[in-house]
């Protein structure tokens, strides 16, 4: 950078940061009036200074995040996550397995409980047991649709969801959720075959008992990961 360019840039920075005294500022204002290139340079930097001035204190002192609780070593051995165009029948669910921080701590302490029971949740209803089935009933117009979610045994926190009677849809897809007062947790997405059926293996990254319902929604393929509010099946997390 030439000395002149550096001087200009330093003056721009000082001007925007309010560090010029009255005389220098007046002189710089005159230069701005005469020099459109200087004005353009200043306006290019102004948003940056404005954003820095607007940063909340918290953003300068970002808190230490909790340890990542997605065991990627296990996940790496599993199959790749499906693309949204993947047909659901026979498809295995995404490999990531989320053990939430409390669960991990409990495991480290040697508490021999599986994921569904290791979350500290005083108010949680009884956890789902292995082999327990929950029927998902239609919501809204999907009168013939049905779902049955069966909890798998073992320490992994898995379940299988069989659905039938859901309209096949080439553009949209279905997504499984846990929902309740705590909010929503996506358990993954799937499509149905031409008969409207699918069988999906699910990972349960959190304790379902902490949430009120399993929910299946119809989601547009619009890149928005939030719930569409278009639920088609729902059932309680306890039978």
């Amino acid at each position: 950078m030439s000395d002149r360019a550096e001087e200009r840039n330093e003056a721009i920075a000082a001007y925007l940061m309010g560090e010029l005294d009255e005389d220098a500022r007046a002189e710089f204002d005159l230069r701005l009036q005469r020099d459109p290139e200087l004005r353009a340079e200043l306006e290019a930097v102004r948003p940056v200074v404005s954003k820095l001035e607007a940063l909340p204190e918290e953003a300068w002192n970002a808190p230490e995040p909790p340890p990542l609780a997605v065991p990627v070593a296990e996940a790496a051995d599993a199959q790749p996550a499906p693309s949204r165009s993947h047909q659901a029948r026979g498809w295995r669910w995404t490999p990531a397995r989320l053990a939430i921080a409390g669960g991990v701590a409990a495991l480290l302490l040697g508490v021999g409980v599986w994921v569904g029971t290791l979350v500290d949740d005083d108010a949680a209803p009884a956890d789902l047991g292995a082999g327990q089935s929950i029927v998902l009933t239609p919501v809204g117009d999907e009168g013939s649709a049905r779902g049955e979610l069966t909890v798998a045994g073992g320490p992994g926190g898995r379940a299988n969801l069989d659905v039938s009677g859901l309209p096949p849809n080439a553009d949209d897809y279905y997504e499984v959720w846990l929902l309740g007062d705590r909010g929503l947790v996506s358990l993954g997405s799937f499509r149905v075959d031409e008969d409207g059926a699918a069988s999906v293996d699910l990972e349960l990254p959190v304790n379902p008992a902490r949430y009120g319902s399993f929910d299946v929604s119809l989601e547009p393929d619009d890149g928005d990961p939030s719930h569409s509010s278009d639920s088609v099946l729902r059932g309680p997390t306890s039978s």
Partner: protein, 206 residues
Amino acid sequence: MTALDAAMAVAPPGCAIMRLDLSAANSEQPRGDADARLAARLASRDPGALDEAYERYGRICFGFLVNTLRDRPTAEDVQQQVFLELWQRAPTYDSGRGSLLTWIMTIARSRAIDQLRRRIPEPVGSPVAVERNQSAVDETEALVEQWRFAGLLERLHSDEAMVLRMRFYEELTQAEIAQRTGIPLGTVKTRMVTGLKRLRDLLEQE
């Protein structure tokens, strides 16, 4: 002793210098290229990729979530959801639509909004509308932008980030920064200019 060390040495007790993680900020390598490689590794299920993404962006994401949700335990839950979703959806990431940071913050925004609304989807055709707390959503939009910008600060050289922090967080003048750190005033001004320029470039790349 680096300039950052010098600044820390003279900072008043309790005065944080830069708690944003600047360990990666010294790299001359464009972060965009590194992000693209990291995204490709995530998509191919490289075991270290998620850890690296978390190391790189976990703090910013978590800061945003704590700032937005105002409840650390909830933010911790949502943080895990965000990175689980990042892992699950990595094959669908399109670098042409934004940086990895932007994508992570987009996921975080959506999950934060879900929490804020505590939205229980109503049956189709139900007369009960889903209640939306628009003001909270609007605030979240502003916060996600601020935190995404804060994420860009981590891409600066540490010397540049330090003078920006001292100027815009500690509200010191450039002369005061020079005095506190012992760095010549001309060098402080140069770092201020290059830091601002680099941020401008990063904003344009985003």
